[in-house]
C-alpha cells in the first residue's frame, strides 16, 4: 500500500505539532477559546516525549513559567487569545528586555474585552506590536493556511532562538479552527540554542558585540552564574542607570531586529508583476483575497496580492517597491484598519480598505466589489 503522510489537521493542531517538531518541550497555558485545542493536544503529546505540560492559574503565570523554563534551557511556548494576550503583555516585555527566547501563540477572537469568543477577528495586530510598555522589538508571524500553522510555528522557534527574543504567532480564529489536508514536511530547518564559546569567567550575557553577533543564552545550572532582570541592565545583566549603558541596552534589543530585516521578513507575492491594483491581506482574509484576485483577472483587471507572512517587523520596504508600480492598494482585514494604516505610511499611493468586525469572514465578493470601485 502506498504510504500516505498527509493528514487532516486543524490549524491549532498543526501549530501544536509544529511546536513539537521544533523541539518545544515545555508548554504552560490557561484555557481560552479559540486556542484551547493547542493545550489539549500538547497535554497528551508532551509527556510522551518527556516534556512538560502544565495548566497554570492564569495567562500571566503561563508566560512567566515559559520564560523561566526557557532560562532553564527548554524551548517553551504558550497559546492564548485576546483577553489572555492582554494579560501577558507585561511579561512579554520582560522576555524582550531580558532577551529570553519563547513563543506566544495568539489565536485572535473578536474584541475588545471579552468580545466574541467563538468568532474570528484580526484585531490584535497592533497589540502584538505595541501591547507591552516601552520601546521594544517584536517579531510577529501570520499563517495563512493549516500547513503554515505548522511551518511558521517551527520558524517562530527558530527566530526566537536565533535572535533571543519572544516571537508571536498571530493566528485568527478561522485559521485556528479550520481543517485542511496537509502533508507534514519531513525536513525543516531547526535552530537550536548555540553553546557558549567562552568560559564562565568571561561570559557577558548581555554584551553588545560589534557586528551584531548575539551572545548565546546559557541555561541556568551549567556553571555560568549570571543575573537576569527586567530592569535596564549592563553587559553583565546588572541593573544600571548610567545613560551610556541604558542607551546601549535598549539600542541593542531594537537593532538586533532592525539590522536583520532581510532575514526575518517573509512575504508572498501573488500575480504582482504586472498588477495595477495590489491587495494587501494576511491570515484567513488572504485566502479570500487570492480568490478575489483570480476573479478580477478573469474580468481583465490587473490585480495582485501581497501577503505579509511576517506582520512585524512590517514589510515596509517591499511595499515601497510595489508602490512604485501599482496605482491602488486595497487592504481587507477583520478590524477597522490596523494594517491599512501601515500601508498608508509605507507608500504615497491611494489606499482603500475593506473592513469587517462582526466576526464574519470577508468574502471574495466584498473585496471584488472594492476592486471594481477603485478601477472605475
Amino acid at each position: 500500500m502506498k504510504k500516505r503522510n498527509d493528514v487532516l489537521l486543524q490549524g491549532n493542531e498543526a501549530c501544536a505539532l509544529g511546536a513539537l517538531a521544533a523541539g518545544m518541550r515545555f508548554y504552560a497555558g490557561y484555557p481560552i477559546t479559540p486556542s484551547t485545542e493547542i493545550a489539549e493536544l500538547l497535554s497528551i503529546e508532551l509527556p510522551k516525549v518527556g516534556g512538560i505540560f502544565i495548566q497554570m492559574e492564569d495567562e500571566i503565570a503561563s508566560i512567566a513559567a515559559i520564560i523561566g523554563a526557557s532560562l532553564a534551557g527548554a524551548k517553551s511556548m504558550t497559546a492564548t487569545s485576546g483577553p489572555g494576550f492582554s494579560l501577558m503583555q507585561e511579561n512579554l516585555g520582560f522576555a524582550a528586555m531580558a532577551e529570553v527566547p519563547c513563543v506566544v501563540v495568539n489565536v485572535m477572537r473578536g474584541g475588545p474585552s471579552t468580545g466574541m469568543p467563538t468568532r474570528a477577528s484580526q484585531g490584535d495586530v497592533m497589540q502584538s506590536r505595541w501591547g507591552t510598555h516601552g520601546d521594544h522589538p517584536a517579531i510577529v508571524l501570520s499563517p495563512g493556511s493549516v500547513l503554515e500553522c505548522y511551518t511558521l510555528t517551527v520558524h517562530a522557534f527558530n527566530l526566537s532562538e536565533k535572535y533571543r527574543t519572544p516571537v508571536i504567532v498571530l493566528m485568527d480564529g478561522i485559521m485556528g479552527h479550520m481543517s485542511e489536508n496537509i502533508k507534514i514536511p519531513e525536513k525543516l530547518e531547526i535552530i537550536n540554542r548555540p553553546k557558549p564559546t567562552v568560559p564562565p569567567i568571561w561570559y557577558r550575557p548581555y554584551d553588545d558585540i560589534p557586528g551584531g553577533e548575539i551572545v548565546p543564552l546559557v541555561p541556568f545550572g551549567e556553571g555560568y552564574r549570571y543575573h537576569v532582570t527586567g530592569l535596564v541592565h549592563d553587559a553583565l545583566g546588572f541593573p544600571t542607570l548610567v545613560p551610556d549603558e541604558v542607551n546601549a541596552c535598549l539600542k541593542k534589543i531594537i537593532y538586533k531586529i532592525k539590522n536583520n530585516l532581510h532575514d526575518i521578513i517573509r512575504i508572498e507575492k501573488y500575480l504582482l508583476d504586472d498588477a495595477d491594483i495590489c491587495i494587501v491581506a494576511y491570515g484567513s482574509v488572504a485566502r479570500s483575497a487570492r480568490e478575489a484576485v483570480n476573479m478580477a483577472r478573469q474580468e481583465g483587471i490587473k490585480a495582485g496580492m501581497l501577503r505579509p507572512i511576517t506582520l512585524w517587523p512590517f514589510p515596509r520596504f517591499n511595499l515601497e517597491d510595489i508602490g512604485r508600480k501599482v496605482k491602488v492598494f486595497v487592504v481587507p482585514e477583520m478590524n477597522y484598519g490596523q494594517v491599512y494604516g501601515e500601508v498608508l505610511k509605507a507608500c504615497h499611493k491611494k489606499v482603500v480598505r475593506v473592513t469587517r468586525v462582526d466576526g464574519e469572514l470577508i468574502t471574495p465578493d466584498e473585496i471584488m466589489k472594492k476592486i471594481k470601485e477603485v478601477t472605475i
Binding site: 516525549v49 500571566i60 513559567a65 520564560i67 523561566g68 523554563a69 532553564a72 545550572g221 552564574r225
Partner: protein, 276 residues
Amino acid sequence: MMRTSETVYKYLRPNKKFPHVWCPGCGIGIVMGALVRAIDKKGLSKDDIVLVSGIGCSGRMSTYLDFNTLHTTHGRALAFAAGIKLARPELTVIVVMGDGDATAIGGNHLIHACRRNIDITALIINNNIYGMTGGQYSPTTPMDKKASTAQYGNIEKPFDICKLVEACGASFVARGTTYRANMLDPLIEKAISRRGFSVVEAMAQCPVQYGRRNIQGGPVDMLQWYRDHAVPVAAFKEIPPGEAGERFPIGVMVDLDEPGYIDRYKEIIKKAGGEV
C-alpha cells in the same frame, strides 16, 4: 561555622557595585545572611542554586548573591520559578518575595504554588509594608497601623501568611524573626531540604517606612518588639484563646514531607509512555 568575611566573599557578587539599596536598620540583610548560612551549611553548589525574586526591597536580593539569579516582574516570581524547576528539576530553586509581592499582586500564584505542592522553597520577607515605593499599606499591615496610604489607620484585616499557605496545601511552613536570626538558619535549611512546596515567613523590621510612622522607635526597638511578641509554636498553643494580643507563633508550623509536583509528573510521563 564559616567566618563571616569568608561567607561574604564566597556568596556575594564581587563584580556588583555595592552599596546595596537597603536602608540603615533594614531587616532584609539579616534574612539574606540566614539564607546564605543555610545554603552553606547544606553544602549546595552555587551553580545548582537558582534564586528568583520579585519586585520591591526584597527583590533586590537576587542582584547581590552569586547564584543563577532571576529578578522577575512584580508578584510573578513563583510562576517564573515553576518554569525553571519543572524544566530542570535537579536545580534547587529558592524564591524570595516581600509581603506585598507574595500576598497581594502575587497572591494567586502563591496559593496555587501551595496547592500544586511544587518543589520550590519560598522565603517571604514580611515587613508589613511596601517599603520601596514609600510605605503604602500591604495585605499584612496590622489593623489601625498607619501607612502613607492609610494616614487615618489601616481598616483592612491582615493576612496571616503561615495560616494562608497551610490552608492552601504547602507541605512545609515555618516562621522566624530577624531578632532570632540564628533560628532562621535552620528553618530555611529545613525548608530547602523538604520535598514539595516550602514556605518560610521571615518577619523583618522596616524602621524607615513602617516603624517611624507607627512610633515603634528605631531598628533596635523593633527587634525588641519581635523579642517580646514572638512566641515558640508550642508555647503559643498554651496561650488561652483571645489572650494572645499582638503575640504571634514562630517555629515550624507544618512539616509533612509529602511527594511534590515533580514526583507526580514523573508518573504522568510513565503513563503516557515517555521516558523520565
